[in-house]
């Protein structure tokens, strides 16, 4: 249960948004919409507790995320514009390290299977630097399939993906929702997803 109360964000001397309210129960997802520069990325970073809001509060199951700290962070996964994949490492190594960081036990076979599911079979051992734009995104997204986190915060997850990969990712998100997960995402494209809440900035 994620709730936001009266959130505001200020950048420079511009107020990007204020008075944002929403609440998401398990199985619900939120589509953050808005023009370029409306403040979607900024909102997502605030929800991920990476930067503090200028005003307002975010609650997770009724408790403020500032108090929860690490307990909250352990339950979320945030994938942003950046890759968070090392260009020198292969997708496999990247995934294994991410699992370590997340304190998830993951063996090579499982990791390889996850990558194959994301269409990277045969590229598991090629340094990410050589991958195409879309393949890089896939290597990143493979983490979604591995880590057990309840709250997914995804910033434009569909960029650079081809049609097949978009379908795959949508299916993954649907399954996560069906299992009682919560998803917050931004996207300029229309998505093949069950109806969710929408928030316009």
């Amino acid at each position: 249960m994620l709730t936001a109360h009266d959130l505001a964000c200020v950048r420079g001397d511009r107020t990007l948004f204020s008075g944002i309210e929403f609440s998401l129960a398990p199985g619900e997802w939120l589509h953050v919409q808005g023009e370029n520069g409306a403040g979607k990325t900024s909102l997502l970073r605030i929800l991920a507790s990476l930067s503090p809001p200028a005003a307002g509060e975010i609650r997770w199951h009724g408790r403020s995320i500032r108090e929860l700290g690490a307990d909250y962070r352990a339950q979320l996964i945030f994938l942003g514009h950046h890759g968070a994949v090392k260009e020198e490492f292969s997708p496999l190594e990247n995934l294994l390290f991410a699992a370590h960081l997340d304190e998830v036990p993951l063996c090579r076979q499982e990791a390889q299977a996850a990558l194959a599911a994301f269409g990277l079979r045969g590229r598991e051992d090629l340094p990410v630097r050589f991958l195409s734009a879309g393949q890089k995104r896939r290597a990143l997204l493979a983490r979604l399939a591995v880590r057990r986190a309840c709250l997914w915060i995804l910033d434009e997850p569909f960029t650079a993906l081809d049609v097949k990969a978009v379908a795959m990712l949508s299916a993954l998100i649907e399954r996560h929702l069906a299992q009682g997960g919560i998803v917050v995402l931004t996207s300029h494209q229309s998505m093949p997803l069950p109806k969710g809440k929408a928030l316009s900035l």
Partner: protein, 221 residues
């Protein structure tokens, strides 16, 4: 603890993957040291006198150059963000990165220093002491440097700003480190210098990772 080890392992692997990256810090150390005889002239006595100072300054500059790679790549590709969001304590991960930095930068310097000392015709006991001071001193340099690297993260022209911030803080390490060797060469007792250096290290081990972690969280906002 597990996460700490995994960060260290990953960073070591990364250093290995970026072929010869750690090696080039070493070469930098060697080249700076050997530039001085070229700039100053070949008088053996003069060179012996200034050898500890030069080796220490070269080690310091080499460490400093490596600092740019401590957090910046992880910041640029978003890994640092993920570390901050990880369930493992962020401070521990930062500590892991600092340790890995020392293992790939400081330790090779320590191993190489005695050979470079030979080039300046230092006596055996001075060589030993030089190595010992560097062994205590280079972790100190990595720890202090981590604060500077974290503070300048993501800033334009960070590389040079970093040196501006960090070099003044390196002064005590330099003075005690080079001072110990020089004291011994002129026949004085070096243990005072050494214990002060060790005390500084103990202080830094406690405070530097904490300060670096706070600075990193700020940089990520």
């Amino acid at each position: 603890m597990n996460a700490l080890l995994s960060v260290i392992r990953r960073d070591l692997l990364l250093a290995l993957r970026r072929k010869g990256d750690a090696l080039t810090v070493l070469f930098f150390f060697v080249i700076v040291t050997s530039l001085f005889p070229l700039g100053i002239g070949p008088e053996a006595n003069l060179l012996r006198k200034i050898a500890p100072g030069i080796l220490w300054v070269a080690a310091l500059l080499a460490t400093m150059l490596g600092l740019g790679r401590l957090f910046a790549p992880d910041h640029a590709d978003g890994t640092l963000e993920q570390m901050a969001l990880s369930p493992s304590p962020f401070g521990l991960l930062v500590m892991g990165k600092i340790i890995a930095h020392w293992l790939t930068t400081g330790m090779p310097l320590v191993a190489l220093a005695p050979f470079l000392g030979l080039l300046f015709d230092l006596p055996a006991d001075a060589l030993f002491l030089l190595t010992l001071t560097l062994l205590i001193g280079t972790p100190l340099l990595s720890l202090i440097g981590a604060i500077g690297a974290a503070l300048t993260l993501g800033l334009r022209g960070g590389g040079v700003l970093l040196s501006l911030l960090v070099l003044p803080l390196y002064v005590p390490a330099l003075i005690f480190g080079a001072g110990a060797v020089e004291a011994q060469i002129v026949g004085l007792d070096a243990s005072g210098h050494l214990s002060l250096l060790a005390a500084l290290l103990a202080l830094a081990v406690f405070f530097a990772p904490w300060a670096a972690t706070v600075a990193l969280r700020i940089a990520l906002e």
